[in-house]
Structure formats: C-alpha cells, structure tokens
Symmetry: C5
Subunit: 99 residues, 5 copies
C-alpha cells in the first residue's frame, strides 16, 4: 500500500457499467514523512474517506479485493484512513493534528 492525501473528487458520468456507484478521489501521494510528492492516482473509495484525509490505498489486482470494488475495473482503491504512523519511534503523522 502507499500513502495518499484525498485532494478532491472526480466525476465521470459516461463510464463502464461496473463502476457505477463508486466514488473516485484524486489522491496525492505522500512520502514516508507525510510530505506531498506531486504524484497522484485516481482511487475508488471503500472506507468512506473524505477530502483532506490521509489514507492508504491498494493498487493492482488487490484494489478489487474490497466489498466495494469486487469484480470491478478499479486498479486503485482506498482501503484505510490513517490514524498515525511512526518512523524510528518518532510520530510522522497523527490524524487531527495536521497543520
């Protein structure tokens, strides 16, 4: 999984039938210190994420192994909202403590 920050929503009306009902977010990828990288991915949501949240997403075939995306042509899916992570014992990110 990789880290991303939910930056916005993408709307597509004319889409593959199997994608109907999914929410698509633009995620900016974060590095392991939690800094934005400029890189992004469009991910389906399986956890009820919202704009501004930091999440982990699964890519590739594993993106289809959620209740929301099973059997659907999604190659990136948000699978968790991040509470916190640390590196070498030092907290890098804490939900609710963002500046």
């Amino acid at each position: 999984m990789l880290l991303g920050k939910v930056m916005g929503t993408l709307v597509s009306t004319q889409k593959e039938e199997k994608l109907r009902g999914l929410t698509f977010f633009i995620l900016e990828k974060l590095d392991m210190q939690g800094r934005p990288t400029g890189a992004f991915v469009v991910a389906a949501d399986s956890v009820g994420a919202g704009v501004g949240e930091v999440v982990i997403y699964a890519a590739g075939s594993s993106a289809r192994y959620t209740a929301a995306t099973e059997g659907r042509p999604a190659d990136a899916t948000i699978v968790g909202i991040v509470d916190t992570w640390d590196l070498d014992g030092s907290v890098q990110y804490q939900k609710g403590a963002e500046d």
Copy 2:
C-alpha cells in the same frame, strides 16, 4: 486509475485473435492539474471515447474487468470519460470548457 487525453488512434491488422473488434487509443497521461506529461499508454476503449476527450483508464489485470475486454490481453482500458475534477475545492478540469 490515471488520467489521460485521447490523442489518436492506433491500427493493428495482424493482432492476437482475442483483440479483434477493440478500438485502441493513444492516451497522453495528464498530471493532477490536467497538464500533459509526455508519457503515454495504448489503451483499449470500453466507453465510446473519442479523440480529444479526457478519460480515466485502468491498468493491469483490472483492464480486463470491462464488458469490452473480459478475457482479452489488454493491460490498459479506458473506463470513464471525465466530466470534472477538483483539488482543494478548485476545479482543475471541466469537460466542454477546454481551451
């Protein structure tokens, strides 16, 4: 999924039997602000896209999970025509408003 702009069509007469009937587009990848990146992919179409449109495409095994590509050796498939997306509340792209 990633963002691409449909730049043109690729024709291949001598191809794997299972690819017959598919349309192949050259997609230039866009960044999350909607700017061209110079990178590209050849994608099968599952939604009736056309040259000039901005689309999302699925890569890898998920590219085979559309009605058009099931069981076929496609590793990139257009799965939606994009209407709009925003970042931090600011619209980055709006279909029909292209310059």
Copy 3:
C-alpha cells in the same frame, strides 16, 4: 499496451518447461512519436512478429491471455503488429514507410 520495436531475438535453452516453443524478442520501447527510448523488455511473441517491426505488447497478467502464452510464466507478450497511429490527426508511424 506499450509500443516497441523488435530489435533482436533471445535464446534460452535451459528454461522453465512451460516456456518451451515460445519465441522471445528484445523490444526497444518507443515513445508516442515513435522514437526509441533506450528502455527495453523481453517479450514472447503471439502474432508472428519479426525483427524490425513495430508492435504493441501487453504486460503483467494480460500477457498470459493469448493463445500462445496461456498458463505460461510470460509477463510481456507481443499482441499486435502496428500498421499506423496518429496524434492530433498527424500520422506518427506508417508501416512500410520507415526510413
């Protein structure tokens, strides 16, 4: 799929049993203008390609969805010989018109 030019042949006698009978080509990847990139991949052939031809190849699990490679440990397979493609209405490559 990506674009490649067939640059040569790779021979491997001592190989996984399931790869027997496949032809392996060295493909140099091309950009969307048809220029060589220096990057390459070793691809199995499913279409009867030959050295010098421009092809599209499928990577990942989709490389196993051809008659030639089904159930075999190939992660890149040539799936079409390219006749032509265009960008913004301008032909970038036409088979038989190479310099």
Copy 4:
C-alpha cells in the same frame, strides 16, 4: 521481491473489513548493498517481523498468497526476515551485525 527495513508501524482504525487483524509496517526500501533509498512501501506482515529488521516483501497479487493475507486487499506483504545476502561472494548484510 525487494528488500526493506522495517521503520515503523501504521495504524488505521477505519479500514476495509478484510484488513482487520493485519499489522502494517512502513518499510524503507534498500538497495542491493543494503543502503536506504528513501523510497518506501506500507506492507502487511505475514512473518512476525519487528521494527529494525531487514525483510523481503512481495508486491502485487503475490502479496495475497500468504496465510495472513489470502483474499485480502493487500498489495505488499513481508514474506521473510533476512538473515544474510552476498554479492560476488562478499557478504552485504548479516542479521545481528548491524551497526
């Protein structure tokens, strides 16, 4: 597989149901000399790894082929704790001999 060093733990309470019970580690990727690269991945654990250990992890669909991750939306899983490796007959890393 690639090499990583377990740098810390990631906590996600609101996550896909199928991920419950898994431990997620932040792995910094190492080069083949064992040096940190700055790149990272969030990996599920299948072997009882701990912070500070050097591990190999599997990515993509193979990340789901462990007892811990079968059928779950994990795209990176730690599959072994590394004892040692060598290059050209010279030991690059020996567990327990870290500085």
Copy 5:
C-alpha cells in the same frame, strides 16, 4: 521478462511457510546491451541458475506460473538461463564468452 545477472544468494530462515524450499537470488538488472544498471530484484529460481549466470525473470503474477513457484508468494522468478541475444543482427551476449 527482463534481463538480470545472478549476483548472490539471499538467506531467510523465518519466512512465509509457502516459500520453504525455494532458492532466492539477488539479480542485478542488465540493460539491452547487457550492461549492469545498479537496479536489482530478489528472485526465486525455477531453472537451477547459479551465481554469475545471465537470466531472464518474470515479474508479477506470472512469477507464480512455474512448477517451483505455483501458489507461492513470489513476485519475481528466474524462468530461463540466457544463451545469447542480438540487437540489429549484432550479438550482445554469448554465454561462456563473458569477459
């Protein structure tokens, strides 16, 4: 597939049960002229390769389609020992002729 040179062996005692019995090699990736690139991968062996040999390996799900790795969490597997390859009619590598 990509080209690699077998540089050394990796030992992992505490590993996923399904990986038991496999040999893991450090492969340095080669470019299409056969030159080392500095990049590497840890690959399972399915062909009886040895240190110093030039091989092709399959990545992703195809790495599980060998007799040695079926159903196992390996994402890179050596699938052939290379005898020779050429580019534009010029031999780039010939087994046994290494300097």
